[in-house]
């Protein structure tokens, strides 16, 4: 197990290196000049050149890459061209809203989707199943911003229960924090609920036909026990895999929700950085997202050993 873990961790190094080379080259080949963006409309060519020199953008691509990689190996992600702050500091300030939103969304998703999927499988072919599957199709088809605006209209503008936009830090109190996250998390969870409910239904349906389920019933187990202890547990591997990926997608893909609800997370930081060609910030955020993907994959793989004793590394 430990050697497997070590192997997997070592395997992340080439993955991260490929991502680093790719994002570095991609940014340098994209049209746009951060120095010109910083200088503003009035700047002369000389002023832009001066800024370019200060930022080290006048050096060759190879030396820029070597300097960047060298700094990363020393734990220095660089300084944002625009904010004049360490990228690490910027990410640290912006990761809380994104993580908060992702965690609350996943909690909503699991709490709603898994029971929905199990019930739908158990009641296969009935109106309950059709309603759940109908919701699944609709939830998957409506863009998140439409759901967001709908929720805002009803719960913020009409009922006044939730704020329209913004974010409160957890340090300011758990209630205000939650108060600002409920609507965006609900909006974001709809698509994941739709997906995971469908996935759960399929997995549980497969398991419900197995002999050991029949045996459990024959032994007089209650239907609840059969469903939770026997069916759901055995169907858990694919469900957990999907939930893990959903979490990874959430962290890197909450841009639209952050925009709609004006939540200053990593998504908005990335959009800002891309529009301004803030290379150090974009590079660092992409590397972070890649690392999170790799890490979540690893956690999912390790979770299989808990969920299915037959799996051993």
């Amino acid at each position: 197990m430990v050697s497997y873990l070590l192997k997997r961790l070592i395997a992340t190094i080439p993955v991260m290196l490929v991502v680093a080379v790719f994002i570095f080259l991609l940014l340098r080949l994209t049209p746009g000049d951060p120095a010109a963006m910083i200088a503003g409309d009035y700047a002369t060519e000389a002023q832009i050149a001066e800024i370019r020199e200060n930022l080290g953008l006048d050096q060759s691509l190879a030396s820029q890459f070597v300097i960047w990689i060298g700094n990363i190996l020393q734990g220095d992600l660089g300084e944002s061209y625009f904010f004049k702050k360490d990228v690490t500091e910027l990410i640290a300030a912006r990761i809380e809203p994104t993580l908060s939103l992702s965690i609350i969304t996943i909690i909503f998703t699991v709490a709603i989707a898994v029971p929905m999927g199990v019930i739908s499988a158990y009641k296969q072919g009935t109106w309950v199943d059709r309603v759940v599957m109908g919701f699944s199709v609709v939830g998957f088809s409506i863009p998140v911003f439409v759901i967001g605006f709908g929720l805002i209209y009803v719960f913020s503008l009409e009922l006044g229960w939730f704020p329209v936009q913004g974010y409160q830090r957890l340090a300011d109190g758990i209630l205000p924090w939650l108060h600002h996250l409920i609507l965006p998390a609900l909006a974001l969870s709809v698509i994941f609920v739709a997906f995971i409910a469908r996935m759960t239904r399929t997995s549980v349906l497969e398991v419900l036909g197995e002999d050991y389920i029949r045996t459990a019933r024959a032994k007089g187990q209650t239907e609840n026990k059969v469903l939770v202890r026997h069916a759901l547990r055995n169907a858990a591997v694919p469900i957990v895999t999907v939930i893990g990926f959903a979490f990874a997608i959430l962290i890197g893909g909450v841009v639209v929700t952050e925009s709609v609800f004006n939540i200053p997370g990593l998504g908005l930081l990335t959009v800002d950085a891309v529009l301004n060609r803030d290379f150090p910030t974009i590079q660092a955020v992409v590397l972070l997202f890649s690392f999170i993907y790799v890490l979540i994959n690893l956690v999912i793989d390790l979770s299989y050993t808990i969920l299915d004793p037959r799996i051993r590394y």
Binding site: P31, G32, T44, A93, L157, L159, F162, P163
Partner: protein, 529 residues
């Protein structure tokens, strides 16, 4: 019975939670806090290092200026008590008024203002021009600066009252000693608000607090001039990229003011009745079409003249603003409503006289060379300009290759002098704040000093000589006559074309009053009841 009781409990809990949550929404807003949605997030805190408007607006919050423009565009003293000139006009003595303090408690001295002027003038084109008249600038004592000039000029006050980027903001000498090529790292001004650095979240939130020791002038507030009285304890800027959402937040009372609202969304505010809208600038902004004179076809002034006849401002303004309450057809180069407004030599221009435009193209021998027109797509206020320009150019028989790109790409590409076929360009459209256009020295697109001119690189000795004459002119009448001469020369040698004056409406909640018609969004004088 039991079920009914349980349902009652659940309903009660939901109601209580709803009441608690709705009370959370309202209790978050304190009365003396003004919550503003600016046009973008503040990233760069040095308003001399960049010309970005958001950094300029931040500058107005925490810094003060020696002179300011009033709503009529006239120069008024701000930090200054008096200005005296020697008989030969070569010595200008400026005294600071009493009671000026930095946010760290130190007194503002002439040494500070001299250092600030030097830093600004090393960066700003108008400042550089001003310094060509200055042999020396020194602090005679704590409150007196002395300019020794090589030639008498009326430019000193005009330049120091420059309202838009780069604005000559005053900073303590130790901060102003930072080379203008580097960003400052300490943010202490003497303006009516102080920046709370602890609460600053770059690009997300800026908090300003009232500076209790600020001593406002005694004159009434007028534009950027007169008394700057902070009437709220805190001003918080939180940008919102989604203006529709910002309007929802305004209607719900979560914010108090949106700096700029697209006119097509104004009905959402009017219908809700929670806020009012209106112009916040007496002279607004100007849409501008910029030529690159280095390459065909716009290397030929006659072809540029053809566009002066082919274009009309109404089409551009309708396509972008759409609401006549927020635009004005204005042919004057130096902005309608400001002191140097004149329509001299503009008869017949900008009226879509296609016959005359075609005649000029024929005279110029236009051979169908395609015009590479850069079209920026991610700034809604500019997006519709290029398609209108394309249509009007095609109407007179020009070939147009409109290339769409985001603003960052356009900004990088416009700096390239390469031929259009090699990644260069022929033209693009943008917008300037009226404060950047109020005289021939401030107007960067008029600078025709060839390689030293702004992208587009116009090259005309006559315009440069007239700009120089303007700087030397001693009286307003003299300056106005030169402005008319510049306009006449510009018709012969167009450096750019103004596509119309527009005003971005601000939206303000009904309980907020006193937002100024300053041309720049400033928040002194604003009170919240």
């Amino acid at each position: 019975m039991f079920k009914t009781k349980r349902r009652g409990l659940v309903a009660g809990a939901v109601t209580a939670m709803a009441i608690a949550l709705s009370s959370l929404s309202t209790s978050a807003i304190a009365e003396s806090v003004l919550r503003v949605v600016p046009h973008s997030g503040l990233k760069i805190l040095d308003p001399i290092w960049t010309t970005a408007y958001i950094s300029r607006n931040h500058g107005y919050m925490i810094y003060d200026t020696l002179f300011s423009l009033d709503t009529s565009g006239n120069v008024q003293p701000q930090m200054v008590d008096s200005v005296t000139r020697s008989d030969d006009g070569k010595t200008v003595t400026i005294s600071l008024r009493d009671g000026l303090k930095w946010h760290d408690g130190a007194m503002v001295t002439a040494e500070d203002t001299v250092a600030s002027i030097n830093r600004w003038a090393s960066k700003d084109a108008m400042g550089q021009k001003m310094m060509t008249f200055v042999d020396s600038l020194e602090a005679a004592d704590d409150k007196t600066m002395v300019f020794k000039l090589n030639t008498p000029t009326g430019l000193i006050e005009l330049a120091l009252a420059k309202p838009s980027s780069n604005v000559p903001f005053m900073m303590p000498a130790r901060i102003a000693a930072t080379p203008s090529s580097e960003q400052i790292s300490e943010y202490i001004g003497s303006g009516p608000f102080m920046m709370n650095m602890d609460e600053w979240e770059p690009g997300v939130k800026v908090v300003y607090e009232k500076f209790d020791d600020y001593v406002p002038r005694s004159e009434p507030t007028d534009g950027l001039a007169g008394a700057k009285v902070a009437k709220v304890d805190r001003v918080i800027w939180t940008p919102n990229r989604d203006i529709q959402q910002a309007i929802n937040a305004l209607n719900a009372g979560e914010i108090d003011l949106i700096e700029s609202v697209p006119p097509d969304l104004l009905p959402l505010i009017e219908e809700a009745g929670e806020a009012y809208t209106g112009r916040h600038s007496p002279s607004g902004l100007q849409y501008t079409f910029r030529f690159n004179v280095l390459h065909p076809p716009f290397d030929n002034p006659k072809i540029r003249q053809a566009l002066l006849y082919a274009f009309n401002q109404e089409d551009f303004l309708e396509a972008t603003m759409g609401n006549p309450d927020y635009y004005e057809v204005c042919k004057a180069m130096f902005v309608c409503g400001l002191p140097f407004e004149t329509d001299a030599h503009m008869d017949g221009l900008l009226e879509s006289n296609f016959a005359k435009a075609k005649e000029l193209l024929a005279e110029a021998g236009y051979d169908g060379t395609p015009v590479v027109l850069m079209h920026s797509t991610n700034l809604p206020v500019l997006t519709n300009l290029a398609p209108v320009a394309k249509e009007l150019m095609e109407a007179i028989g020009m070939t147009v290759d409109m290339q769409s790109m985001d603003w960052s790409t356009l900004v990088a590409r416009r700096a390239k002098k390469d031929a259009p076929a090699d990644g260069g360009w022929n033209a693009f459209a943008t917008a300037w704040d009226a404060g950047d256009l109020f005289n021939p020295l401030a107007m960067a697109f008029l600078n025709s000093s060839c390689d030293n001119a702004l992208f587009g690189w116009p090259c005309d000795e006559e315009i440069e000589k007239l700009r120089d004459d303007f700087a030397r002119a001693g009286s307003f009448d003299e300056q106005k006559a030169i402005v008319e001469a510049i306009q006449a020369r510009w018709v012969e040698y167009p450096t750019h074309i103004h596509l119309g004056q527009f005003f971005t409406p601000a939206a303000i909640r009904n309980n907020v009053q006193g937002y100024l018609m300053g041309g720049v969004p400033v928040f002194w004088n604003v009170e919240k009841n």
